[in-house]
Point group: C2
Chain length 321, copies 2
């Protein structure tokens, strides 16, 4: 392993910084979900704002000096990062400006608004989002917090890895986490491989948005074009610093199709009693779909978020059976 842009010490620092504002989420042991495998479910769906994103957003926001912070933080987001940054800004007592596409679901708009952020709506294209964010920043002088390429965000997300090792007792054989932009997986890779080099770290990705898988296999960063998956939190392309961290600290990336992702989501909701969004179930789906690979192992699985409209899940959309 070469020296990396993110260190274990910085992640441990982030853990102390964000501790007053985020939850040390439970690590639940489950022996019956995947036969022959001892699972440790890291429940980031129970994190404040309903997703691990609260960690990175708080670390980035609280790292700013007072002058910078006073001018606020800003981002564009149609999802969990916007709500996380809004809460972090509220906790620091500074403004948050969130650019959202006009077609974002009401629940997401409401969540961001409820945390007191100022929302600027724009056309639902990446160009419009970027341009609108630039205008907001030019006007307000706010600090932009990128959802996954910001190193302080990566450090914040890495605290999930530190907590898993602290909570697990004996080191797990495997830690597996979903990968979209790669902030979570990259941060966990650094934390886990620095503390427990023998622990295998795996990324899990939807087959319909498999740029991290293809980049990892080819050694070249390949952007995601036309992603198509139910896991709407993982549509984005892998980030640049994230790819470097993942090449260095992650052992493998596996993909799972949408049927497996939905089956996993259903199993977590119905059997584990945890509301998990499809993106948050991808790592569990990867274990569930390949039980032989994980048989006899202790596998820590990151359930990354729980922000789902249950009425959109196919087996519930049908109404009473």
């Amino acid at each position: 392993m070469s020296p990396s842009v993110v260190s274990l010490a910085e992640i441990e620092d982030a853990a102390r910084r964000i501790a007053p504002f985020v939850r040390r989420t439970p690590l639940l042991t489950a022996r019956d979900l995947v036969p022959g495998c001892e699972l440790l479910l890291k429940c980031e769906n129970l994190q404040v704002t309903g997703a691990f994103k609260a960690r990175g957003a708080h670390n980035a926001t609280f790292r700013l000096d007072a002058d910078q912070a006073a001018r606020g933080v800003a981002t564009h987001s149609s999802g969990n990062h916007g709500a996380a940054l809004a809460l972090a800004a509220r906790n620091r007592g500074v403004p948050a400006h969130v650019v959202m596409p006009s077609n974002a679901p009401d629940v997401k708009k409401d969540a961001v608004a409820a945390y007191g952020a100022e929302i600027t709506f724009c056309e639902p294209t990446l160009a419009a989002r970027t341009e609108t964010l630039e205008r907001v920043v030019a006007l307000r002088g706010s600090h932009v917090v990128h959802p996954y390429e910001d190193l302080d965000v990566i450090r914040g997300q890495g605290t999930v890895g530190v907590e898993i090792l602290d909570q697990a007792g004996a080191t797990p054989d495997v830690v597996i986490a979903p990968v979209g932009g790669g902030g979570l997986l990259g941060g966990i890779g650094v934390a886990v491989k620095s503390r427990s080099p023998g622990c295998v770290v795996i990324g899990a990705e939807p087959a319909g948005a498999d740029d991290a898988f293809r980049s990892f296999r080819s050694g070249v960063l390949i952007p995601q074009e036309s992603p198509d998956t139910i896991a709407d939190g993982l549509l984005t392309s892998l980030g640049r610093p994230n790819f470097a961290l993942i090449e260095d600290r992650v052992d493998d990336i596996v993909t799972v199709d949408d049927d497996a992702i939905l089956a996993a989501t259903r199993q977590l909701i119905e059997r584990a009693k945890l509301v998990v969004e499809p993106s948050g179930a991808v790592a569990f789906a990867a274990v569930s779909a390949d039980p032989d690979r994980f048989a006899g192992r202790r596998v820590a699985v990151v359930l990354s978020g729980g922000n789902v409209d249950l009425r959109r899940l196919p087996w519930l959309a049908a109404g009473p059976g």
Copy 2:
């Protein structure tokens, strides 16, 4: 407080006995669910078998001597106690006989069967259930474990109270738990009042099955007739030893109507990301419905179970909105 049929020492004993088989469920802090109130959510919906019943069933099953145990355990149940006893018997390596009404939901039948119990179906009347259970016991010599009047069951459920105090750090001002047969509330009352006499213990009951409320107020055990509530785990009448414990160790019983119970269930699922059945949301509903009473207090709320068919919940039964 008079000496009671259940002691703190026995509950602590039960905690050690069942520890290898049940989960120390998370106690999650939530500040945004009820404005002005710091909630500590005791997540027994995340307990093995999806309900606190696993605690009492394991304590009762593991208290038996080897000869008794070898002849198995038995109960009649249409709900969570049957599955809990089936798992406890499997963990002890002895047979479980569960009498179930023929019209029990398939999911409940499947759960009991999945844990390896032998199921005997009967007509869906209390007379048929009792008589069928007597026949099974006469044939097998099994030990009957009553779902809430068995003292070892009450001791097992009381471990919820011990854990809340152990996990809470500073003692909560209030502990509130649902009441049906009264095994959970009675056990918690003994545990909490023995350790922290100043902590207020409250039972929460559906208005449509309010026999515990009426018994508590009148000082006379009044059986429940024709209960009518969405909280189908709390239809039963308060038990006799349970009533004595509750009179002695519980400060108040409050009732909530089905609208409040359903609103609470929805809030826990959508905002707290916890799958909770209506019966399991009754204590939270009681706090949510009367925020002034709990303002400025630290309130530990027992979410007692999560075994719900989501398709039966009204806002989901409608399909996509």
